[in-house]
Amino acid sequence: MSGISRRRFLAASVAGCAATTLAGPRKVLASATFTGYPDGMGVLVDLTRCVGCRSCEAACNKEQKLPAPDRPFDDMSVFDETFHGGKQKRRPDENAYTVVNRYNPENAAPVYRKVQCNHCNEPACLSSCFVNAYTKTEEGAVVYNSKVCVGCRTCMVACPFHVPAYSYSSALDPVIKKCIFCYDTRLKKGLPPACVDICPQEALTFGKRKDLIKIGHQRIETHPGRYVDHLYGEKELGGTSWMYLAPVAFDQVGFDPNPGNEPIISHVKDFLSTVPMVLAIWPAMFTGFHLLAKKQKGDDDHEHDAEKQHGDEGGEQ
């Protein structure tokens, strides 16, 4: 091997190694499937009990010190609001971390559904965040650190439940706004979140997630006619801390009926695992191609002729 090609080879190898070091231990951490902290808390939402009083919305507004709503919380006409051509119901946004929507399933009484962050075991927002702004706490909450957030909004793209919202109206300090399970003010101290505390119908049950799963299945067993036989969130998308019982099929009350049981991160693992391979293989492969391309032509006077010929081929075929 000539001195020059050795030097080039070394240069390329060094560049490759540098790139490998940069990429580091990407993704190895999350490759095992995580099913939640053993004593993580959760909430069981029983849609058969909810009467749509919106007191949870009011309690959340007060607890999280959110701005006063356009329409008061005792105004039930919000249930008739639709957006974007009548297809969309209300969703959580920067002024409301939770909303209740009314659905009118066929041949059944209206069903009210509370929407808020479901606090996934393996949150998509967390795994998609490139500054690690999200944390799944031992208590079960998915909390967010606005101090490091750059505002790329990938978490909003990633969230399968359309939960995180952005305070687009702020020019200087826009941040993600979403339910944090009242982590700072309540959950940390072992208290239930404000919405659960205030619910007059006991539609919301606060407890350890593993206990709530048992309670949910017990209710279905005891009242088979009242519920569809499914605890939404027990397995969906890797499991969520908030889980739902419903009187009708879940797609009739606005749920994605089939989101799969894999957490979102599983869809990305394939790509993430190819990264170290590309970093490791490409440098040698392309430096190799280069050496092969050189060798073929030799390094004496024939070089230019050889190139000319190749050029003609390239142009005329």
Binding site: R7, G16, A23, F130, V131, P160, I264, W282, F286, G311
Partner: protein, 446 residues
């Protein structure tokens, strides 16, 4: 400019003013060797500048407005479509169109196809500017753009795809700056810098391939976070990143053809014979490469459909839209390229390239905006958002033109006599024995 050349003005292409044998000053170089009056005159006579002026008059205040009053002031502030046109166009379209840098770098430096050298610098510059302006679009879109360095220095989320994109785009931008700086060093007359970059050319090119493979793919993998939101025809869990990477190849090659076509038409005075005479041949060569990549892309797109058994979707309205994208954006250019290469019709290859650029752009817009949230509703971008996008694109065009006018991208810098002598010496010496300075002359002096 054409008129001025007609009157005997010669644009700067070397260090020395031929008229008085004095070196050009930096100011003279910036004015292309014209007097400020001449320069202003040619700028004002160009109707395109007036169009740009109108765009800037409307768009620049809007950009200021966005920073003063927040993103919500110029977009629909959608929580369902967090990424609008700024990323849908600015990032997801600009980046594949900028794959040209690493592709031509690989062709020339790695595979030693020096017959593509006349167009290599244009491809490198196209890559650099495309990435740079993708970052500019990003700075408009980020909620807190001043925190852009956070993933590098403040808080790390190394398991996130975007972390990889951020690092790789940042690193690759520096690689591209280094690659293009050769032309800049020639222009300012600092040969040491040029020699240094030449010496590390292979390393730069190889790291360019690595970084490009990964972040072109990573942009696709970003959508793997939204399996339920992107329509299944535009989403493929195992292949999304390969689809994005593979389609970036024809996109990058065709963007070079498109830009070279525009350049040939609008600034022929700046192109030297090495560029103009070789352009048709290079164009057909690029078209050939692009058509192979397009065929591969077509096949793996349908493998994606087959793998997830999504044939049923093809019979729906979305399916028709998907098939249209494939027919117009992929199959039609393949046919045009095949005919063009077979019969040496360069014009058809250029037409095919324009269609390919639009086809791949449509694919990215489909994935990021149109087929995104297909089960919800269709977001139509705010008119201000469109204007801001157009304005930034106009800035991109102005910067592009500014550099092409000046740097030796389309023409060869005429070396000083002593440099020419040095070059001769290197050429004469057997390559093996030339020691350190030989690396500087890595690119063969023809």
């Amino acid at each position: 400019m054409k008129n001025l050349i007609g009157w005997g003005v010669k644009p700067v292409d070397s260090h020395v003013n031929e008229k008085n044998d004095k070196p050009w000053s930096l100011k003279e170089k910036l004015f292309l060797g014209l007097t400020p009056g001449q320069y202003l005159g040619q700028a004002l006579r160009n109707p395109f500048n007036w169009i740009l002026g109108i765009i800037f008059a409307v768009g620049l205040p809007l950009i200021a407005y966005r920073y003063l009053f927040g993103l919500g002031a110029v977009t629909h502030a959608s929580n369902d479509y967090p990424w609008g046109l700024f990323l849908g166009f600015g990032l997801f379209v600009m980046v594949p169109l900028s794959a040209s840098g690493f592709l031509l770098g690989t062709t020339v430096e790695i595979f030693g196809r020096h017959d593509f050298e006349p167009i290599e610098r244009l491809a490198l510059l196209n890559g650099l500017l495309g990435y740079f302006f993708a970052v500019v679009y990003l700075l408009v879109d980020l909620g807190q753009p001043w925190r852009l360095p956070y993933p590098m220095f403040v808080s790390f989320g190394p398991a996130a795809v975007l972390f990889l994109v951020a690092w790789h785009v940042a690193t690759y931008l520096s690689v591209q700056v280094a690659e293009v700086s050769v032309a800049f060093f020639e222009w300012i007359g600092w040969l040491g810098g040029k020699r240094f970059i030449r010496r590390i050319a292979i390393g730069l090119t190889v790291s360019g391939i690595i970084l490009s493979t990964l972040h072109q793919g990573a942009l696709g993998a970003l959508f793997n976070y939204a399996p339920g939101k992107v329509h299944p025809l535009w989403y493929s869990a195992p292949f999304q990143w390969i689809h994005f990477f593979c389609s970036a190849i024809p996109a990058g090659l065709c963007m070079v053809i498109v830009v070279s076509t525009v350049v040939k038409k609008t600034m022929a005075w700046r192109c030297d014979s090495n560029f103009s005479d070789n352009l048709d041949r290079c164009t057909l060569g690029l078209a050939k490469g692009a058509s192979m990549a397009l065929i591969t892309y077509l096949v793996i797109k349908f493998i994606g459909v087959a793998h997830d058994n999504e044939w049923g979707y093809l019979a729906t309205g979305w399916g028709a839209w998907f098939l249209l994208e494939m027919a117009v954006g992929v199959v039609l250019p393949i046919i045009l390229f095949a005919y063009a290469v077979r019969h040496q019709v360069v014009k058809l290859a250029r037409l095919g390239a324009i269609i390919t650029v639009f086809g791949i752009a449509l694919n990215r817009l489909n994935t990021a905006l149109i087929a995104f949230n297909w089960q919800l509703y269709q977001e139509i971008p705010h008119v201000f958002e469109v204007i801001v996008c157009v304005t930034i694109f106009a800035i991109y065009v102005v910067v592009y033109r500014f550099l092409l006018y000046r740097l030796p991208i389309l023409y060869s810098w005429k070396a000083l006599p002593q440099e020419a002598l040095a070059a001769e010496a290197v050429k004469a010496a057997p390559i093996r024995s030339t020691g350190t300075p030989a690396g500087a002359m890595y690119r063969k002096i023809d």
